[in-house]
């Protein structure tokens, strides 16, 4: 996510074993599939999410490049893919109920990516590093 403005400080949930980016996306890895979403910290900062702009299945995504956006009423943030690969599924439930991201950002991933280069995960932060990164 792009220039998310830090407005409030609330303790946010961080899950061990996930990978985190500086732009506040996470990756949960199952085999060569990465579940990508925004962190709990990010959803807090955004406030009520009213729209998630998602890629299409079969789209190619590249690590560090934009793949969509999340919008709240008064803000919008681009989403940057933490990993490279092919989109194999998007979370269509977010079309009808984007607020699910606020309810549980980790349960409600945004896209599933078949990763083309697992070594990219090494460039991301682990839970402890992300916790330090967001200053909690």
């Amino acid at each position: 996510m792009g220039n998310t403005k830090l407005k409030t400080t609330t303790m946010s949930k961080i899950i061990e074993g996930y990978y985190y980016s500086e732009s506040h996306e996470y990756v949960k890895v199952e085999g060569n599939i990465g579940f990508v979403g925004i962190t709990d910290h990010a959803q807090h900062e955004l406030g009520n999410v009213v729209y998630v702009d998602m890629p299409e299945v079969d789209d190619e995504v590249n690590a560090g490049e934009e793949f969509g956006a999340v919008e709240s009423v008064k803000a919008a943030s681009d989403l940057f893919s933490p990993v490279s690969g092919t989109v194999v599924e998007v979370n269509e439930a977010l079309d009808d109920e984007p607020g699910l991201v606020n309810k549980d950002a980790y349960e409600n991933w945004i896209m599933k990516v078949e990763m083309s280069d697992a070594s990219e995960l090494e460039n991301l932060m682990d839970a402890a590093a992300y916790k330090a990164f967001i200053g909690e």
């Binding site: 009213v50 729209y51 702009d53 299409e56 956006a69 919008e71 709240s72 009423v73 008064k74 803000a75 919008a76 681009d78």
Partner: protein
């Protein structure tokens, strides 16, 4: 410096400067490097009193001549009820800003909601935005919207029968925005269907822009066009003359994805070209790709129904370079013209306006074509109140004669021997008879000259 727009007395200025810790008004500009400060007065005349201002403009007005308009081509001389001007002149509407503070802007927000509702009804589309600058820029925005919606295509087709004034603007936007704009050929005054199908079938077209009615006033038959577009994942964009939608098949009924055009024909004075209002309507599923402001209904803290600017995260003030468009100020007050006009006219009024235009135009076409040298440019093609005639004499000379004798602007010369004419309800049968009489005398006079 005592002046009617400056309430500051010498004492006020002294005391305010004192609060600021400054000695003079010049001190307030001490942060500007000395060599950049303007050291002379503007080379403009001194101020005028109101009496002199009125004289100044009255004198300029003598260089103008308001005419009976038998000309359209994107601007139509329609009747506007006196209520319209009265309402839009209210300073509560006129002197307000964009309704960002919804609690004290319900007047503006509510009329925009009514405008959106009426435009959606009129075009047969699901949603409308709060307004665009004019019909030309609205069409250009629709082109960019189609490209954004298609994601991986950047080619748009535009029919050769779209008003060239609109085409010029669309071409400019395409050139700078990087859209590949191609023309669909014209065949006998209408869009060439085989050329349309061949180009869309290439599967690289984001959108197709057609006109209804087209530049020549012809009402083209677009049966099956939307389906053909959709089969190739292409959006169909229709540029319409707003008032004609009171009777003509709507973009929604043709299956179009985006309806655009100028709303000037709905109660807005001709005003030498502006301000007008562009409309842009589309389907619900494309609402997020729509440029400009949108008003939505919601409730306030007390549960009362209210209106508010919504989906703002698409707009430039939040999304900056990623916004759906750069539009900020639109034509809000002109949308109020349209809203009050449609409230007064209703569906019956719009029908009557179109009947009067149709009757006058068909009568004029028939009478002119009885004269020597006149013929329909596209015989057998259906038209509403605008049509092209061929005249094998000197069109400009004929126009000048009508101007001098009848105070009439006889259409627009669109080719060496083609004249585009338009009739609205402001032109009576007597007016038309006089025009025909002068044309008759002119053509017979030409005979005598020979």
């Amino acid at each position: 410096m005592s002046y009617k727009f400056f309430p500051h007395t010498e004492d006020d200025i002294r005391s305010m400067l004192n609060t600021c810790g400054e000695k003079s008004l010049d001190d307030l500009y001490k942060d500007i490097p000395e060599d950049l400060v303007l050291k002379k007065e503007y080379g403009l005349p001194e101020g005028l009193s109101e009496i002199e201002v009125r004289k100044f403009f009255n004198s300029l007005a003598q260089g103008n001549e308001t005419l009976k308009c038998l000309i359209g081509a994107g601007c139509y001389d329609h009747y506007s009820p006196s209520v319209v001007n009265n309402i839009v002149s209210r300073s509560e509407f006129l002197t307000s800003y964009t309704p960002y503070q919804a609690e004290i802007s319900q007047g503006t927000l509510q009329y925009i909601f009514e405008y959106q509702s009426m435009m959606a009804m009129l075009t047969g589309m699901e949603v409308s935005n709060a307004s665009m600058y004019d019909g030309c820029t609205a069409t250009a925005e629709a082109m960019m919207m189609a490209v954004a919606a298609a994601k991986k295509r950047n080619k748009v087709l535009i029919s050769a029968t779209v008003n060239p004034i609109v085409r010029r603007v669309v071409e400019t936007y395409a050139k700078f925005n990087g859209v590949v704009l191609e023309t669909i050929a014209e065949a006998d005054g209408v869009t060439d269907k085989s050329d349309f199908e061949a180009k869309v079938a290439a599967d690289d077209v984001a959108g197709v822009i057609v006109a209804a009615p087209n530049f020549y006033g012809i009402v083209e038959d677009y049966t099956g066009w939307a389906d053909f577009c959709h089969a190739h994942k292409t959006l169909l964009i229709m540029n319409c003359v707003a008032s004609t939608l009171g009777v003509l098949k709507t973009p929604g009924e043709w299956g179009a994805d985006i309806a655009v055009g100028d709303g000037q024909s709905l109660g807005i004075p001709m005003n030498f070209g502006g301000p007008y209002v562009g409309f842009l309507c589309t389907s619900k599923k494309l609402i997020r790709k729509m440029p400009g402001r949108i008003v939505g209904a919601t409730t306030d803290m007390d549960g009362k129904r209210t209106f508010v600017l919504t989906l703002q995260a698409r707009e430039q003030h939040i999304r900056r370079e990623k916004a759906t468009s750069n539009i900020c100020s639109n034509e809000s007050l002109m949308a109020l013209y349209v809203t009050v006009y449609m409230a007064l006219m209703g569906k019956e009024g719009l029908k009557e306006v179109n009947e009067l235009g149709y009757s006058g135009a068909h009568y004029l076409a028939e009478k002119l074509c009885e004269l020597k040298g006149f013929s329909m440019a596209y015989p057998d093609k259906p038209f509403l109140n605008e049509f092209a005639v061929k005249f094998d004499g000197d069109i400009e000379d004929l126009q000048n004669v009508l101007l001098d004798y009848n105070g009439v602007q006889l259409g627009l010369k669109i080719a060496d021997n083609t004249l585009l004419l338009c009739v609205t309800e402001t032109i009576s049968k007597d007016d038309l008879d006089e025009v025909v009489l002068t044309c008759k005398a002119y053509t017979e006079g030409e005979d005598e000259d020979e």
